[in-house]
């Protein structure tokens, strides 16, 4: 049973790794680099926190 579990672990790892690579490729070819890297630190804080005491 443990040996079978070991093979199952390899199988699951390979399938999930391939799925992530496929999704990575799909996303990177669908969206522009500007959109994907558009996150900016502190945007919400700049709106909600005025820091006026």
């Amino acid at each position: 049973m443990w040996v079978a579990l070991s093979y199952a672990c390899w199988g699951i790892s390979i399938v999930l790794a391939l799925w992530m690579l496929y999704d990575w490729f799909k996303i990177d070819t669908t969206f522009s680099e500007d959109v994907l890297t558009s996150s900016r630190e502190g945007e919400l804080e700049a709106v909600s926190e005025k820091h006026r005491i």
């Binding site: 890297t37 996150s39 502190g42």
Partner: protein, 466 residues
């Protein structure tokens, strides 16, 4: 403008950012999930260094160190609520070079802890199976890849899973504690026979100092809660609440763990076993408790690795976003809203270390990076209070007795460095040399790519004295 991939994916206004979907329970799950594995293995090596009583003494003293960490972190992070946690704090309060180093401390500490968790999980399954020739590599690979996939698919599900498995592992410690009649000595527990005045501190007080190195395991990683700062709905409330609740939870778990294990095993065995709680379950003679503690050991390792992947990826992502590393790493998945490239980049690194490193080396590098980070935090809070005194900016939480926690934290870090030097002096020197060289690279080469004004994002007034 709206870019559409499929019905569930919509990118508004050409901006994709991390999602604010987490609450205090997720913060607790992240912090306690990373740490709780330390109760299932690691803390007990302190008994090998200084005896069972030394393991208890460091449980409380290192608990003081981490309480200081939790209080200081809660105050600063409730104000600097950004992914990257201590990295974003260092950037705003100390400066870019410190921030770069702190981010590397974070990535190393969490990646090496993830590696250690995966090795522990693989070894535990192999030990349980008892099948000759069965290798731990398949279990290590499955742990790292499945958890990376979970992290890739979204932070909410990742931390929901962490909450459930951390709670099960924690409850197993509570069940073990109450199953051995802790109020009665002699029935199951034999603390007065196993810990006597003659063997309580076999190496004296130097043994207690040496035990600091492994006392860190009781709480290593609780500061990881701050990495969720950009994804919690109310950072000023959730982060201090989740972090402090996590610290209280861990102090209780650490005390129960020591009491049960020290009352069931002689310190000579307790100090060398890899599975103190699983062994404690076996020693009760109950197959139910034995199996429960076996499963809990696996779940604790999974929860820790899961939280570590989450935190290391966010620290790496933050470095990319500020151009401290190529901006390529700062990509956010438009559907799952996770730093998917950082998760994928760190995945093969963790796998490689897990296949070639041993548990002791991996965890030593993790602890070293962690203690370097705590040392920074003690200096950071002094500078934070000096530059932005109380009343100058809004704080979600203000920690009491300043500067006492910072002083206590700094002093205990110095003691821990000495303890690590006693056990792993060459690794300590190699690690410091590595950070020195990488700092030179950052200062003389990489910093030219950084947009210097854009990296400071907090809408704060000018610091005092500037």
């Amino acid at each position: 403008m709206t870019v559409t991939l499929e019905p569930a994916v919509q990118v508004q206004g050409d901006r994709v950012s991390l999602l604010r979907v987490l609450g205090p329970a997720h913060v607790w799950a992240l912090g306690v999930g990373i740490v709780l594995v330390g109760e299932f293995t690691g803390w007990n090596f302190a008994a090998d260094k200084g005896g069972a009583l030394a393991a208890l003494i460091v449980c409380w003293i290192v608990g003081l160190l981490y309480t200081s960490v939790a209080m200081i972190d809660s105050e600063v992070t409730s104000t600097v609520a950004a992914a990257g946690g201590q990295y974003a704090q260092a950037k705003h309060i100390v400066g870019p070079l410190m921030a770069f180093n702190v981010a590397l401390f974070l990535v190393f500490a969490y990646t090496m802890l993830e590696v250690s968790d995966a090795i522990l999980l693989g070894d535990t399954i192999v030990a349980k199976a008892g099948v000759e020739g069965l290798n731990h590599n398949s279990f290590i690979a499955a742990t790292i890849v499945v958890l990376a996939w979970l992290n890739y698919r979204g932070v909410l599900m990742t931390l929901n899973v962490n909450f459930v498995i951390t709670a099960i592992a924690y409850v197993s410690i509570v069940i073990l504690f109450f199953s051995v009649s802790p109020w009665t000595q002699g029935a199951v527990l034999k603390l007065n026979e196993l810990v006597t005045p003659g063997n309580a501190l076999p190496y004296g007080w130097i043994g207690v100092i040496a035990a600091f190195q492994f006392g860190i395991w009781y709480y290593l990683g609780i500061e990881g809660t701050t990495q969720a700062a950009e994804e919690v709905r109310s950072p000023a409330r959730s982060l201090p609440y989740g972090t402090m609740a996590g610290m209280i939870t861990l102090l209780i778990a650490a005390a129960m763990t020591w009491y049960v294990c020290a009352s069931l095993m002689p310190w000579e065995y307790l100090g060398i076993t890899y599975y103190p709680l699983w062994d404690a379950g076996k020693l009760t003679g109950s197959p139910l408790l034995e199996n429960l503690l076996f499963i809990a050991t696996l779940l604790a390792a999974l929860a820790s690795a899961n939280g570590c992947i989450n935190d290391a990826a966010r620290a790496w992502f933050s470095l990319g976003r500020d151009r401290y590393l190529p901006t390529w790493f700062s990509a956010v998945h438009p559907k799952y809203r996770t730093p998917y490239r950082s998760i994928l980049f760190l995945l093969p690194i963790a796998l490689a270390f897990a296949f070639i490193a041993d548990l002791n080396q991996a965890i030593t590098f993790s602890i070293l990076s962690g203690v370097l980070q705590y040392t920074f935090m003690s200096i950071n809070i002094i500078m934070f209070r000096k530059k932005w005194p109380l009343g100058s900016i809004r704080r979600g939480y203000t920690h009491p007795f300043h500067p006492l926690p910072a002083i206590v934290l700094f002093c205990l870090c110095v003691v821990t460095f000495f303890a690590i030097f006693l056990g792993f002096g060459s690794q300590l020197i190699a690690m410091v040399a590595f950070y020195f060289l990488i700092s030179l690279w950052f200062h003389f080469y990489r910093y030219r790519f950084v947009r210097r004004g854009a990296q400071f994002t907090m809408p704060w007034p000018k610091p005092q004295g500037y």
